[in-house]
Symmetry: D2
Subunit: 346 residues, 4 copies
Amino acid sequence: MIKAGIIGATGYAGGELVRLLLAHKNVEIKWYGSKSYVDQKYADLYRNMFELVQESCMEDNIEALAGQVDVIFTATPQGYLSSLLTETILRQVKIIDLSADYRIKDPSVYEAWYHIHHESPQFLEEAVYGLCEINRARIKTARLIANPGCYTTCSILTAYPLVKEGIIDPDSLIIDAKSGVSGAGRGAKVANLFCEVNENSKAYGVAVHRHTPEIEEQLGYAAGKEIKISFTPHLVPMNRGILVTAYASMRSAYTQEEIKEVYDSYYAKETFVRVLDQGVCPETRWVEGSNYTDIGFQVDERTGRIVMMGALDNLVKGAAGQAVQNMNLLFGERESEGLALVPVFP
Amino acid sequence: MIKAGIIGATGYAGGELVRLLLAHKNVEIKWYGSKSYVDQKYADLYRNMFELVQESCMEDNIEALAGQVDVIFTATPQGYLSSLLTETILRQVKIIDLSADYRIKDPSVYEAWYHIHHESPQFLEEAVYGLCEINRARIKTARLIANPGCYTTCSILTAYPLVKEGIIDPDSLIIDAKSGVSGAGRGAKVANLFCEVNENSKAYGVAVHRHTPEIEEQLGYAAGKEIKISFTPHLVPMNRGILVTAYASMRSAYTQEEIKEVYDSYYAKETFVRVLDQGVCPETRWVEGSNYTDIGFQVDERTGRIVMMGALDNLVKGAAGQAVQNMNLLFGERESEGLALVPVFP
Amino acid sequence: MIKAGIIGATGYAGGELVRLLLAHKNVEIKWYGSKSYVDQKYADLYRNMFELVQESCMEDNIEALAGQVDVIFTATPQGYLSSLLTETILRQVKIIDLSADYRIKDPSVYEAWYHIHHESPQFLEEAVYGLCEINRARIKTARLIANPGCYTTCSILTAYPLVKEGIIDPDSLIIDAKSGVSGAGRGAKVANLFCEVNENSKAYGVAVHRHTPEIEEQLGYAAGKEIKISFTPHLVPMNRGILVTAYASMRSAYTQEEIKEVYDSYYAKETFVRVLDQGVCPETRWVEGSNYTDIGFQVDERTGRIVMMGALDNLVKGAAGQAVQNMNLLFGERESEGLALVPVFP
Amino acid sequence: MIKAGIIGATGYAGGELVRLLLAHKNVEIKWYGSKSYVDQKYADLYRNMFELVQESCMEDNIEALAGQVDVIFTATPQGYLSSLLTETILRQVKIIDLSADYRIKDPSVYEAWYHIHHESPQFLEEAVYGLCEINRARIKTARLIANPGCYTTCSILTAYPLVKEGIIDPDSLIIDAKSGVSGAGRGAKVANLFCEVNENSKAYGVAVHRHTPEIEEQLGYAAGKEIKISFTPHLVPMNRGILVTAYASMRSAYTQEEIKEVYDSYYAKETFVRVLDQGVCPETRWVEGSNYTDIGFQVDERTGRIVMMGALDNLVKGAAGQAVQNMNLLFGERESEGLALVPVFP
């Protein structure tokens, strides 16, 4: 049994981790960490866990935890892990960090977008960006996994093959993303009240959203050069789901069939990426509750552009599911163990 | 492996059956029956199943199916199964009927509420009402299971112990139920369009809803006499979930503690009924996607009444999940096999 | 022009008051009072008012305000007005209180349900309960209006004629109410976040909700005696709307036609109460954005009960619209001035 | 009094026209036309109109209607009006067509995108594209108004000043639009059922949506040349609202202030276009129920692009409200008569 501890178990991503790990046959959750709810019964905060989780919340104490478990998931605000991580901790335990602290290799870029001083840049080099479909081999031997963001996972998986193959001009890439509200977390904010969000759609963080440099870095590796993209996140009234619509200029004329072949060559063997049939657009409902990313596309001969589309569940493939997938790779489990979740519809 | 066939696989309850059976380790779905979509790929109708189900829809042909499978689920309109069922079929295969055809013992009551002539009343006597928590023993040996309705399951489980123990006057029982929209099915009707349902709540079928006699019959067995209740269903804007609020006069003064003990004595050992802590009201979100029924209550000393509350997912415990639970009992599987679903929140 | 001041202009009821008063041809809003947002532009808090309201929020200072306006609306928490109201204020200005402070005549009842000491009980006697359809004459000459609650308005208007005429046994009355989320206010609470409310229904405040004694008092006047009822509020995922389903035993057998005549005799001339055609159930969408209360009913011969149903928009007829209706009566305006709002659908 | 007839009064746009015209002080609706509901009471189809509209639906007979009213609104499918319109009709009555039949000057373009043969191209030249803010003068003297589409109105108003002033390269324009579900109409389709749309976001009609050439034509006039754009519509789970996010390359470096000045120079005097303060993104909730279009933008120096954003209510400024605005211009009414609607929030 893999012994797991969760720091930040009471946010939505933490809650989803609990849901997934409870159903994983080789994992035992040993620590439900919380900053705000110490000593409260976890199932009083997430009553879906009533009779399933008996434990109470414990302090977010990573040092204490490191000696007791095999893997720590940190579902914490940016800056938390980077301010506490030490070599001593990393020698004892694998860490899968759901925050952004180790996703960006250049600490000055991190600091420019997050406005936080990075306190442990010495681990940036060894941290592995935990997008399993792309970095599988390196993940298996890592000590520290930077679990990708929700917008980022969807954006990168959607555009990656066409960037990598040089089919699109990466500097023409415009990513328009729509997200459900759980991505905003369980904090009590007026902006996320039901009445503020329901019957509403809006863009936010235009031109300054923090997931932008993460996408640029990863797709830049694929392009073999630094790139700059436009990324605009939107909030739409649903609990879960991210839909990415990405636009780019094609470097020459391609047919639908040719593009489909490229996608298939990258993803046909991937369990958790489904390249849809031609003409089918991904929809968030078809992946809800599951670890899938669904991908579709449309060549537009009139404009010489291609429209790429991706959909995933921000709490699963965009957070907790990907973290479990990383854990499976780290511990030699079957990659899909605990993740064979049929999407829930309706 | 249990070989299963589904007649009416393309409705919402049928789709949920597929979701659950795909995750059941000892079941193989052999037949995706459909009236309207014969020869279409099932995954084109339920794209959540893309890459998970390769089969196309087949005719709704119960006779052909009976010889090929071990169990048939009929998720069909009222009157379908009763017009086709024969002794020949029942000798070959177990049947779990999600329609109302065999739920009511007296065909004249069925005909009065459903306005359909019952064409095979000879099977009414042997049909077992498939509410596992109450009829477990009889289910195990049945050939024909009348799988309860969604409103009914929630109403009966919520009130049953207090009726059975004589704590409430069953003729004072008033059940006010709120349902998500998936209970209305996947048919194309203006009344169920998004814009008609969103931002709306309404009662319907007041005093004439067909689940009324089903509740009366089952709670009548518990009361040891015929009873008459008020039952009012409502539609509220959510996909899944039924919430029942039931009111009744107590026959004498009871404390919260005493009532809690009664509920616990019935349900403490039940996997799929969770009696909540005192003062906690059930909420549909805490059971969504799972086979649980959550139950709470409040004694009101001022009025001498008790308010009983129950919540379940209408597509799981209210339909497909209960059907799988019945199947597990019929075939000697562990009762919770394939149903260890942690509720999905948010 | 009637000069109006609003204390508590930044809550949802306050915002709705602004919306309605802006469209009232004889009113000028002079004061946008706020506790939390003093000196902030009102239209920065309610961007629907962009270019329509230039003013900034001012302090919630009732004494300063009393000398400057003709009417003050207090859309404030319970206990606010009762702790500040003086004879000096009342001599200068009419007050329409949207809180509960003056709704209940007996201060000990108020204190028992609200757990607040009432600091100005000397005004309880003269305060007029502002349910226009019932207390119209007395409202016209009042100084202090206790504007009814949202659940209360819907419950009373729905049951009043049948209680008043002795058709139902008032002690058998059970009111099951469903509310949209705006009734919970604009405060930042986890419980009202989109992800907590969406896809969820729940009861709350069972047997202890504060609107209970208000309904009992007003229907008690109609019954000519003290009564006790059961009242259960529920939260359903919509912005606006209250739906009341009320159950009571009929004192003798009545037909649908007889009941319809009774309702019509009370409401046929009322602009803002619409008694629906027989067999039609009220739905919240048909009144959204308007000052209407829609009423329907169903006699149930089987049980000897009647099911009464009412629907209104909690922010309009359940709060701000009713306040404007009261203001119109107080100042000799046409009762429907500023309230000729066609419900918005979809 | 302007006598108005509506052909297609029972769709959502028709229903919204009725709502607006009922509140217009100088209009009388003489004809509630319907194809499917002839002789049914209009208020039985739109119960929000109960007690407000007594009339029943009449045939969709444009010839009979032409002699009886001053203006006809056609809220009908594409191809309806173009197959029936005659000079005789146009001599009797003004026509405001909410369909696409006369929006595109070149019938071959219309036919290519709509797959409908245009049967009265002789009226294309004189038809005036009814985007009041741009074509005000020509609208006043027209006989036939081509009322713009919902996506189109939002897209054009958002991009127009920057195209007209040559600030952006129009061929770099990418428009990503998100729409509520009422834009899909009141027809009974599985795809628009509550359970299919709720908790879902999707693109559709990628690269082939019919509003594309309409946007290209109108913005082409502004650019002074033919242009080609990318336009992708999306469906998000809300009743009303369109949000447009538009991306384009700037021809040189502009500051936020410079762009704001350009927008203000076009729209500061426009009642129904609100240019938001810098840094504020439009949200659909702030315009719901009103005739406003809210516009915001963000210069992105990193990429040399500008992100333009617009929001409107698809049934008001995107359909019925714009039609009323056109009617006001046609008949010399104050342009905002009947349209002084404060947006409804929440």
